[in-house]
């Protein structure tokens, strides 16, 4: 137990991470007598993209290898360039060189639901509107979408044209939401406000 306690500060000393005049590690001691050893230990091979290889051109050339950073809005993607722009061929040449070999694209943000489109008739739409009108509490949009095997957006479009928008029900729904928000503590409320502010900042690209 005692040996372990003593060993730990010595280990800190030996690793050279602590700031101490007496340090035992070669990387923290720089004297002319230890220069040779320090230089050997600090020898790090650079990345292969910075070195010349068999494929690199024989004449003088520039190695362009910028660090990864967010792309700039002033660099127009090739697809957005107008057809008469003179830089089009250069950008095509650069893109063909830098394009990754695999054609597999990154995964989708919202995986496709596989819901069919354009398969509902007028009778189905009338049925949707009737169900919502007669039993608004039981049939919400998600249930209707599952029943008719379509997207929730389509249900919203059908119902927005039905005239079945109940002002009272909307007020009730909003009142319920307000009651829930009243029960939030200060942290939850601030987190919610921060999220809304962040979305506004994202729209302004700040």
């Amino acid at each position: 137990m005692d040996a372990r306690l003593i060993r730990r500060p010595l280990l800190d000393l030996a690793s050279g991470r602590s700031q101490c005049l007496l340090s035992l590690n070669a990387s923290t001691r720089r004297h002319q007598s230890s220069y040779r050893r320090a230089k050997q230990r600090l020898n790090v091979k650079p990345d292969s993209s910075f070195l010349q290889s068999n494929n690199s051109p024989q004449q003088d050339h520039i190695i362009f290898n910028p660090p990864s950073a967010a792309p700039s809005v002033f660099h127009t993607p090739l697809k957005f360039l107008p057809k008469e722009d003179k830089r089009r061929q250069f950008l095509e040449a650069t893109q063909s060189k830098l394009k990754p070999n695999s054609t597999r694209l990154p995964p989708l943000l919202q995986p496709k639901k596989g819901v069919p489109h354009h398969h509902l008739s007028d009778a189905d739409i009338a049925e949707i509107q009737r169900l919502k009108r007669e039993e608004p509490d039981q049939w919400n949009n998600n249930k209707l979408a599952r029943k008719f095997n379509c997207s929730g957006m389509f249900i919203s479009i059908c119902l927005s044209q039905a005239g079945s928008k109940d002002v009272d029900q909307l007020a009730q729904h909003n009142a319920r939401l307000e009651a829930i928000k009243e029960r939030w503590g200060p942290r939850r409320r601030m987190a919610h406000e921060d999220k809304q502010r962040r979305m506004q900042m994202a729209l302004r690209d700040e």
Binding site: F74, P107, Q110, M199
Partner: protein
């Protein structure tokens, strides 16, 4: 036939009236060594009637002296006479500091510093020069913006034009030139100071309910951008209806009309090219980050409408990389892809925010397309340049904003 002597006729208008020719109907006070005694020479070519000064003001009888307004005294000049411009150190220094052409005389420079609120006479204030110079300046600014960023939305174009030659910017420019204001206008003021009647602080400005020159002001419920292009001024602001020409004005408007008047006077004395290079050197050389002027409402919808309009594949969002999904501070990097091509990339702490930022970035890279910073503008082909320069290639004209 006798030759017509026009200079003789205008000379009659310029001659001052002597005391013997005046009537003695009203009492006046003695003013032998009046500092306002001035016989003014004109800097413009056209002759005009001017209130002529008179030397001797004689007591008529021993009636009590009435309170005489300084401005009603004959001999009163609201702004310094033109010959005072030749002895003003400030004015000469300003002329040299701006490296103005030698053809531009100091008298005209003095005139550019006099606002209509200081001197209502149109031959001695800068109203006409400011109108001319303002048109030239806004023409060069807008043609540069339209040629350099052909796809800018109209609101952003208005904002960028305001940033380059709006009143606040022109005030900064004039202050950088070292032009200071006179406390109050008058004839004894140094001609190198900007003279104007300052609007009293706390005055209620004429707001929109006072009426504007728009013919549809009472019938619309929302002002559209296209109507702004037709009815409003160069920055998209409504032009108010009752605007008195010689009313007191804020400092920034006085500075703005001074800068415009300088451009106008350069155009008049030194020509079109000199005015254009002056605007390029002082106004268009300023740095503006146009990418910060954008604000979007529904970027996802707008981007999908853009791709549909241009015939690109439907844009989908893909996760390029992510970390810490279940932690308190996740980072998602999302890219918008149209087929195999990436249009934009954005990162955020939630999937929705990252997707929004990616759409905003894609839309901005569409709108901020530029053929280059030194693209040729139409005014480059004016004058004799059509022979020396290569043939004019049309600039890119965009179809317009994305309607969504």
């Amino acid at each position: 036939m006798k030759r017509l002597r026009i200079e003789r006729w205008s000379g009659q208008l310029l001659k001052p009236r002597t005391a013997s020719s005046r009537t003695r109907s009203r009492p006046c006070c003695q003013a032998t060594n009046s500092p306002f005694n001035c016989s003014r020479t004109y800097s413009s070519s056209s002759a005009a009637q001017r209130r002529t000064p008179s030397d001797d003001l004689i007591f008529e009888n021993d009636e009590p002296l009435e309170e005489v307004l300084e401005s009603s005294l004959p001999g009163y000049c609201p702004s310094p006479p033109p010959q005072a411009a030749l002895s003003s150190a400030k004015l000469a220094a300003l002329h040299a500091r701006l490296d103005l052409p030698k053809k531009l005389p100091l008298q005209t420079m003095a005139r550019t510093l006099v606002d209509p609120s200081a001197d209502p006479n149109v031959h001695f204030n800068n109203a006409s020069l400011a109108t001319l110079g303002g048109s030239i300046m806004s023409y060069h600014v807008s043609e540069w913006l339209l040629c350099t960023y052909p796809r800018l939305p109209m609101t952003v174009l208005f904002a960028a034009a305001y940033a380059y030659n709006g009143p606040k910017t022109l005030q900064l420019v004039a202050r950088e030139w070292g032009v200071e204001t006179a406390a109050a206008p008058g004839a004894e003021v140094d001609p190198g100071l900007l003279q104007f009647s300052k609007l009293a602080p706390g005055t209620r400005l004429a707001t929109r309910e006072g009426g504007s020159v728009r013919p549809d002001a009472k019938s619309y419920f929302r002002k559209g951008i296209s109507s702004s292009v037709v009815y409003d001024d160069e920055f998209g602001d409504t032009i108010p209806k009752d605007s008195e020409a010689n009313a007191p004005l804020p400092t920034e408007d006085a500075y703005a009309s001074f800068v415009k008047a300088v451009v106008g006077s350069i155009y008049l004395h030194a020509g079109r090219e000199a005015a254009k290079s002056f605007v390029k050197a002082h106004i268009l050389s300023r740095y503006l980050d146009i990418s910060r002027l954008f604000q979007f409402k529904e970027p996802v919808r707008e981007l999908s409408r853009l791709c549909a309009r241009e015939g690109f594949e439907y844009p989908v969002a893909r996760i390029l990389s992510e970390t810490g999904r279940l932690s308190r501070h996740p980072v998602f990097v999302v890219g918008i892809f149209s087929g195999p091509d990436k249009l934009g990339e954005g990162q955020g702490p939630s999937l929705q925010e990252a997707r929004t930022r990616a759409c905003v970035m894609a839309l901005k890279s569409w709108y901020l397309y530029s053929p280059g910073n030194d693209v040729r503008v139409p005014s480059d082909m004016e004058g004799g340049a059509a022979e020396t320069q290569p043939a004019w290639e049309p600039v890119h004209i965009d179809i317009g904003e994305v309607i969504h």
